[in-house]
Symmetry: D2
């Protein structure tokens, strides 16, 4: 198999190490370089002993030509970094898959409002393809610049998509009650993410407005012609990985078999698994994998649709979906490197 | 202080040991006897070393006259047990506070449907007072038989009560997305509650119908004259204690200051704490205590009320509320034995 | 690659599902059948949704000829089961790799004392090869019946082996203080393994004698001519997977560079990783992998050797080592199917 | 009861909030002031919502006369802070109980070597009393300056004390294998204490030398006339609270009933509980309490004593022991405010 030469911008965090873990099992991946200013010169396997024996690679400070030999560059960086690399890569025709939010929001004013900075290259926003393969696969095949979706947005959009595309629900009152593991907060020295602060406890956060709300809303709006309104409340769970999205919507009609609808909608998708009727997918059933598992209920008494959608926020919500996007962009088997069962228990 | 003589039916489980823990700090409590057929003869402090030095008491098999010296009997038993003791105690005028669901549902047919058995003493249902002091305090003062509320019902009812009593929300579409620690499942040898099964994972359960739904619905219905419909989805969290209820409701009006409303509604309540605007109460902030902490949001864009309501399911959701009820029934300070801060971290 | 036909006896527990997870990534594995009396007829992927899409296989009750097409049979059963299958398989020349203790102890009287039953086929004990490849690789190449080592014994033996083989330590006072995740207790409905019982707590168990003690002692004794005595104290940790063995030994000599000794001892081993001097391997660095990571210290003030040895008890301590043994027995690359990085974080 | 006026230096961390939690239940405690430069002006109950309703107190920056009305001052500060306050308080006759290591080590050179700074008032070292009541109660009654013991040192010293005082063990090879929850690292924004880093994992740390080693060694040495050598290896556990010390020692004699010895040694101690023979104390059995629970084994085959000693590192290992010391110093009931059962489960 022809190798894909890969560069990684900023691979010291959790999505970075997960990308390295998954690429170690990818038959075509050839990681050429990985950048970090703070860890310049340090072996990847020194920072992450779990990678000992898999990479003979050290972090290095970025240079203007560092990625010139790459086919694909992943940016596993905080918001506001990838946009500074995007233009140069785009002009060289090097594919960029950005894990951050820099290219996810179509309207630059909305982006600036939620992310608190000026956008470095607003003219590239229209070139960027939103990397949700189940929604956008054809455009991804030709994409040079991909905005990899956020973790919550992936689970929520996949859960609502069949309902919206078939015009089955009232769109003015969607409620997405979401639960995430702590890795969603990244590898940052913050008191709020200490074991002593989050273990044996649950809480909501950003209840009055979270950055993923406009991203989800934009994505859902593209699935319907009706004006759409969404309540999105994220909660922090005492676990490392996993997102559980519990999605509520009022049904417009009473005569549709939601189970069949979902099964048919996703029957050809390699990374969406519609569970048998009556299932309760748990986040561990997708731990370490690129799968999104979904169960759907028709609550007849209240005429609501209830969707339970779980994913590993670090995989389908970040590094795994990025590899899925790479596979599509490079025209190889979409499941390459991603076809492994979850770690249970 | 005059001592209250106390009997406990079935104190080997988690609500039983919590009751003993709390009563150890209660200035008036005098535990006379505690029953268990399976642990007959075993010292309480042998089963629970945490109680060494606090109780010189052994479990014993129940006898017909065992509780005759008691002022109050707590039944910390599975559903279907307390109802077998209720009549005899009631006739002797001994107060019974039942932790189970035996006396929570007014309609015996509904009870039988959800709990799968015949009721042993349906004629006592109308004598039973539902033990939510914030709703029912006056009736509790005179009660002989108290149905201690379920854990979820307590958190949900306290969260919706000010909205319903003031006719502020549409009652046809309440959504209660609830998260519970594993102790809610009790001390039963079940594979589904093993550390290896529930740690590092989150899932919904009983999505198509949970036993607490009719209890919550009945309780909420009593707060409004409008017909009421409720979606209730419980989720299992990887933590021992704690319930987080996330409550959604469409507002009928846009001009009410919900923060002030809640603060006034609960200003005299010793065990409901309305947090400052913008707060996100975490379950650990009530760990080991009888407090229910609540935050309320007005989501203006969608005109929804959002309520975050947290409690310790074993305390305010069980043993603590039972003691609060006992204090009310016995005419002593309602906070006796319950006025301790949470264990943080 | 020529396929290896595989049968599994009793694959409903944690080592069973882990075996299936790992075999799903093994290029030569072809699982023909898997037995369970209690789950007879149930799809493997129904019991373990994490395996959906990987196996089109159902549990079935065992029959006398069920394994006749198999090259290798794994027994992932409680103690006392595999020995009932062993003779028939042995006579048919079908390789058996037993996860249980049935064939680990050379002396049948010792075995019966610790495991509380008669041995079904004591004459096979001398045919069985103890499946610790780092100690026994050559014998394993010819083995038909393999006793896969216990989880604790693997971590402890690999930690002490270089010291014993080089006669560097006093053998009368070895101390192995070991810490294990809860999955070591298996998938059994036991109160002692409930989340509510073991989370947020640590304790020793079997301090006066654990079944793995004679197995470890026998293994270590084979590495030295000196009489050997071992104190082994296991502890239960609030985590799912992982063993951390902390090994103490008095040095006989003061002039040996332990770091170099260990690095050389294991330089050709694919699944033992000697960490750089001063390291503290954490169990997560081997989560889901077949690696044993070791750090060694010379504590000069007390002239002790200290070895820190970590493994995933379900992989190198069970299913992974079993596959490593299968690879050796079948003459294929020893790392087949096992060459994946750990899941971090 | 006469009130004790209390000041707290630096109460924003975990030992600070625990001190406040425990003092809220202390019948004589009257907290006058609490300092923090970083949180100057912030209400204590704003930083710790768990304390809402218990304290009407705000953090304030320290001033020279702030503590003048205090009977007792607790310093819940990092190493190197309390020693700057000690002299002024000492001269005013105000009792100081220091949670840090500033006054624990008798030899100033040893202290400076391990703590990496000059000591601010070495002449006060001989005035300081080491606050382990079970060893030092009489001196504590008269003390003005108390060095509250470290968390590990408390559990280890209480475990070895009966053996050393009765000259039963060889003192040249003590091995203390200790396991601690994450709260021992304090409330500091450190990557190594993130939930994502320490959950689902176990590791040793500071294996080549930990600051508590000289403190433990000094304390143990005072219990014997023999020269004493100690190996101390701490391990980090995925739990918030709790220390489990597993202590090994070679017995000099074979004829002593260790169980009786320990029971008699601690029969009058309110906060040391010798468990029945064969017990395995778990850390949760002391969660939130000032109790140290101990089990002792005579391992006859290897002629070793094995001691299992558990405590809550934040209580008996810090704030609780400090209150115990205050009670002794003030001449009131030693158990005041500390006589509550553990939070189980």
């Amino acid at each position: 198999m022809k190798k894909i030469n890969i560069g990684i911008i900023g691979g010291t965090g959790y999505t970075g190490v997960e990308l390295l873990r998954l690429l170690a099992a990818h038959p075509a991946a050839n990681v050429l370089c990985i950048t970090s200013r703070s860890e310049d010169g340090r072996a990847v396997s020194d920072l992450y002993p779990s990678l000992r024996g898999f990479y003979d690679l050290a972090y290095q400070a970025p240079t203007p030509t560092l990625f010139d030999e790459c086919d694909v560059v992943f940016a596993a960086t905080p918001n506001g970094v990838a946009m500074k690399y995007a233009e140069a890569l785009y002009e060289k025709g090097i594919k960029l898959i950005d894990f951050s939010a820099d290219f996810r929001i179509n309207e630059v004013a909305t982006w600036s409002k939620w992310y608190g900075m000026e956008h470095a290259c607003p003219h590239l926003l229209e070139k960027a393809v939103y990397g949700l393969p189940e929604f956008n696969r054809e455009q991804l095949r030709e994409a040079t610049l991909v905005a990899n979706p956020g973790c919550y947005p992936t689970a929520v959009q996949l859960g609502y998509m069949p309902l919206l595309r078939n015009d089955l629900i009232e769109t003015d009152s969607l409620i997405a009650d979401c639960k995430s593991g702590v890795s969603g907060a990244g590898k940052k020295a913050a008191i709020g993410s200490l074991f002593t602060e989050v273990s044996e406890s649950v809480k909501a956060y950003a209840a009055s407005g979270h950055r993923h709300q406009p991203e989800i809303r934009q994505g859902l709006q593209e699935m319907t012609t009706e004006p759409l309104n969404l309540v999105f409340v994220p909660h922090l769970m005492p676990m490392i990985r996993g997102i559980h999205a519990t999605l509520y919507a009022r049904l417009k009609r009473n005569d549709v078999d939601l189970q069949t609808l979902f099964e048919q909608a996703y029957q050809d998708e390699p990374f969406v698994d519609v569970m048998p009727a009556g299932s309760h997918p748990d986040t561990r059933s997708v731990r370490g994998t690129n799968m999104c598992r979904i169960a759907v209920y028709h609550l007849k008494e209240s005429n609501q649709a209830l969707v339970l959608s779980v994913e590993d926020n670090v995989v389908k919500g970040a590094a795994g979906q990025a590899i899925q996007n790479m596979n599509i962009m490079m025209g190889i088997d979409e499941t390459s490197g991603l076809n492994l069962p979850a770690l249970v228990p």
